[in-house]
């Protein structure tokens, strides 16, 4: 599987994500700078990493969403290429309109950085086939703006069509319906606040994140 990691000024999980992808796919991802206007040819997965792109100026993810490379990412997503946005990457994907809703300031205004319990709500997505339905996994979060909000119709639609991939199994940030991760209508774009790339080795305290990448690899190669 050929993957690409998008790098913005202020990204800080790009290298962790690259390590996770290389560990699982056996191939180092292409690191693609935000000023590029095209993705490398034949990419099977685009990963948008966590961090503080453009210093979170204006709104988290707002500037990154308008960078040249994101036009190429939106276009690739439209062709069905899997796109994974983690933390700031999730914020960027909502700002581009690839995913509905918005990530707002945490309800209690604090930066939350700790492992959290997540319930896997849908294992029938490209990204979650490595998990069992209803399974509770443990993956760290580290964010200030992770409070997922959308209008009532959007939330209802996400729920009724199985697009809530992950839900917090504990109170974390005030997200509507405890939503931690969602997929787009076509199912090839996932945005999630928790960091699966920070739970891939025993030394991380959990390897639950590894199965996301393994499941994705299996689905893409199938």
């Amino acid at each position: 599987m050929k993957s690409a990691v998008i790098v913005f000024p202020g990204s800080n999980c790009d290298r962790d994500l690259a390590v996770a992808l290389e560990k699982v796919t056996g191939r180092a991802p292409a690191m693609v700078w935000h000023r590029e206007s095209e993705l490398p040819y034949g990419i099977d997965l685009v990963a948008v990493p966590g961090g503080f792109s453009y210093g979170d100026y204006l709104r988290s993810g707002a500037m990154a969403a308008r960078s040249p490379i994101m036009r190429a990412v939106v276009e690739a997503a439209g062709r069905g290429v899997p796109v994974l946005g983690i933390c700031n990457g999730f914020q960027v994907l909502t700002e581009t309109g690839l995913l509905p809703g918005a990530l707002m300031r945490n309800a209690r205004l604090n930066f939350v950085s700790r492992p959290v319990a997540l319930k896997v709500e849908n294992t029938q997505t490209l990204f979650t086939s490595g998990y069992n339905a209803g399974e509770v996994i443990h993956i760290p979060v580290a964010h200030h703006d992770g409070n997922y909000q959308a209008d009532a119709d959007t939330l209802e639609k996400l729920e009724s069509t199985g697009r809530v991939a992950f839900r917090y199994a504990e109170e974390v940030n005030g997200s509507a319906r405890s939503i931690a991760g969602i997929v787009n209508e076509a199912g090839n774009v996932l945005g999630m606040m928790p960091h699966p790339e920070r739970a891939i080795e025993a030394a991380h305290g959990s390897t639950d994140g590894l199965r996301l990448f393994q499941g994705l690899l299996e689905t893409v190669n199938a």
């Binding site: 204006l58 709104r59 707002a62 308008r66 909502t94 700002e95 509905p100 809703g101 918005a102 707002m104 300031r105 945490n106 309800a107 209690r108 205004l109 409070n147 909000q149 959308a150 005030g174």
Partner: protein, 84 residues
């Protein structure tokens, strides 16, 4: 030519920052405050002849996230507003 863009949270969207400001005001003894909503003011210095619709385009494409925010444009000569 200057324009001012006011970006505010839509009614009904939770505003944790506004709530915290509200609580802090109460803590200072200001008990007549019913509610607080925090927003942004963005000042633009524009080329002469920039049209209202261009500014509105700027708001929709970048300055406001219309999923959660409304914007209002104030210009010396004219005013326009966007609700979506």
């Amino acid at each position: 030519m200057k324009a001012r863009v006011f970006v505010t949270l839509k009614p009904g969207v939770l505003d944790p920052q506004g709530k915290a400001i509200h609580r802090a005001l109460e803590g200072l003894g200001f008990d007549g405050v019913n509610d607080v909503r925090a927003g942004k003011l963005i000042e633009l210095d524009l080329a002469d002849g920039t049209s209202d619709s261009e500014i509105e385009d700027m708001c929709r494409k970048l300055l406001a996230n219309t999923v959660i925010e409304n914007f209002r444009v104030e210009r010396p000569s004219s005013t326009g507003s966007g609700q979506s």
